[in-house]
Symmetry: C2
Subunit: 371 residues, 2 copies
């Protein structure tokens, strides 16, 4: 099974075979409900197989949906008026989760009504509630957040994990991240045999921390059995390179690296704008080069890779940027659809379910079914 | 005292008061001796107070210097024919250090002939030999590598440390990094009261690893006594921001962050070049904007911030990029001159010499002399 699960709610038309249902938390983002609904509408215009279960304040959502007939037709509203705030601590969120749109959205996945949930809310809270509602998948100690990062690869992206689910990871966690990240790259980017690298401060064998040395040896063993190619250590300079598809690291390092890349890109974009505004000549230059510059801008636009994916739970959870606008929400929906349509949750579970003996399950890994 | 130490070698004219002597390892860079000498010459043209002690193969260096009279006049050659290779492991280097240009360059600092050494050689080897030849400064457990990173600050740079001297750092090390980094920012960037931030995965108090929580509390205490302002946690997005001057982290995270920033900048520069080459219109645009684009290019040119500085040894060591060309070498010399002219080694030593009680030495820290 993957994505065809009929929602039996009070709104929306009856589901059809081939429909893919996405569970969406309408609240908790910085921009409010209207942008979420516009993003849902944008996606639906391009993809008629989408259906939504939308969680939030029922009256508010119904009011918005009255203006969007086509969207209302494909959307079931589920009333859950509580909102998890951006600055709520995870511990507080856990105590006050009942009745929130975030928990309601996760529970639809738990109940099997949808294979994937999207939320623009607070990352720490979403991870805490997802662990509570969905539980860790068998064989996983530390779930991870995987993100797509613009790269020179043909797909345009590399996968990086963990982007910040946990500030620590031991050798075993890093090995699981490799297996999960490779599975994600196969399903989200369509790569048959992703190249996996372990983020380190140099490519020589003796470099780095001891947990990396342990993980490196095991990844080389597990790779051939688990349909990925372990290419050894990679460095920060490889984040955007085309010699690796999946970059594995702990959540502290991964989070700092991602934000450093974002900050650098933003600084250069700012300086570029300044450079073009500097003189009359440079302004004329910008006019001539406008189309090309717009294409570049689009290539490195963070909204187009909106969505960190929580891996290692009994269900797929997509964390959209808190500040995501309609374009960002629509990008997250596209990713959710792709993963749901591939039956990603089940494929990933099959990959990691083999537990600590992950390196010794050639029958499963070679069976052909799990991607 | 700072920089006036007469070299008594066989070549060069007698030193004058006000001269600043830099000890330079001529070997071990990727580009060879000629680029090092051209960089020395470029610096000397701009700054007549420079003198050099140059370490390497005597015959080869003399042959090069015969073509550069003004440079030969200010340069003492010290014969040390052994070369530390880029891929030598630190352990091997330590066994075979005798007679290498790298060790000879460090020994000139140890002997008090020069306050600062520059090498384009292998970072791990240089740190290992520097620890052996110069020893750690009193009160320092882990020396650190500080680098300048292009930022939106008025100086154009932030200081980041540790950039990779050690893959681990505990609370106490991080506190020392703050004190050393602030001293470096005062002397290299001329900031009176640098703002120091601790790199973390979020700015909230509960975020991150336990060693960070410990260090944060102590930095807030030590800041007022040690002439820096502790501003709390910063994130990867702040690497280039103007809300912080000194970013403190362990050498693993710092190294990954730096290389990620470099990789991102390089990717965007590549895409920008592609964008301008894309069509006739965009090529015309590039022509019009050429001056402004060149200014931008210069602003983010890595050669202009060439030189990681080893802090926490009895002497200042500048590690230049292995691939540094003459412009890069000249940038490292400029930095070396500035630090030597400020008596940086002594000032830094005074700052950290107070040992574990670094937070309880208001008399020294307030004395006015150490910057």
């Amino acid at each position: 099974m993957s994505a065809v699960t009929p929602p039996n709610g009070p709104s929306g038309s009856p589901p059809q075979a081939g429909d893919v249902v996405i569970s969406i938390d309408a609240m908790g983002g910085d921009r409010g409900v209207a942008d979420v609904l516009r993003g849902m509408d944008m996606s639906l215009e391009k993809n008629s197989r989408l259906r939504y279960i939308l969680h939030g304040d029922g009256d508010e959502l119904d009011r918005h949906l009255r203006k969007a007939t086509a969207l209302a037709e494909r959307t079931e509203v589920r009333h859950a008026p509580g909102v998890v705030a951006m600055d709520d601590k995870p511990s507080r969120v856990l105590r006050n989760a009942q009745g929130t749109s975030m928990l309601s959205a996760l529970e639809a996945v738990k109940a099997g009504e949808s294979p994937v949930v999207i939320s623009c809310g607070n990352t720490g809270a979403l991870m805490a509630l997802a662990m509570l509602a969905l539980r860790k998948a068998p064989g996983v100690d530390r779930p991870a957040i995987a993100v797509l990062w613009p790269s020179l690869n043909p797909s345009g992206y590399n996968v990086l994990l963990d982007a910040g689910a946990d500030v620590r990871a031991d050798s075993d966690d890093l090995l699981k991240y490799a297996v999960m990240g490779a599975s994600y790259a196969r399903n989200a980017l369509g790569l048959k045999r992703p190249r996996v690298g372990l983020l380190n401060v140099g490519t020589e064998e003796h470099k780095g921390r001891s947990e990396l040395h342990g993980a490196a040896g095991r990844m080389a063993e597990v790779g051939p059995l688990s349909d990925f190619e372990y290419i050894g250590y990679v460095e920060g300079t490889d984040m955007a390179s085309d010699r690796v598809d999946v970059i594995v690291t702990d959540g502290f390092t991964g989070n700092v690296a991602l934000k450093t890349g974002e900050g650098t890109a933003r600084m250069i974009q700012g300086l570029l704008k300044e450079a073009f505004a500097y003189s009359i000549l440079s302004r004329i230059g910008a006019l001539f080069a406008l189309t090309s510059l717009k294409r570049l801008q689009k290539r490195i636009d963070p909204r187009r890779v909106n969505g960190g994916v929580f891996l290692g739970l009994n269900g797929t959870v997509i964390k959209s940027h808190g500040s995501a606008d309609a374009t960002g929400v629509s990008a997250a929906i596209k990713l959710a659809f792709t993963l749901a349509d591939h039956g990603f949750t089940e494929r990933l579970a099959a990959r990691v379910a083999v537990g600590p003996a992950v390196g010794h399950a050639p029958d499963l890994a070679r069976g052909g079914s799990p991607t």
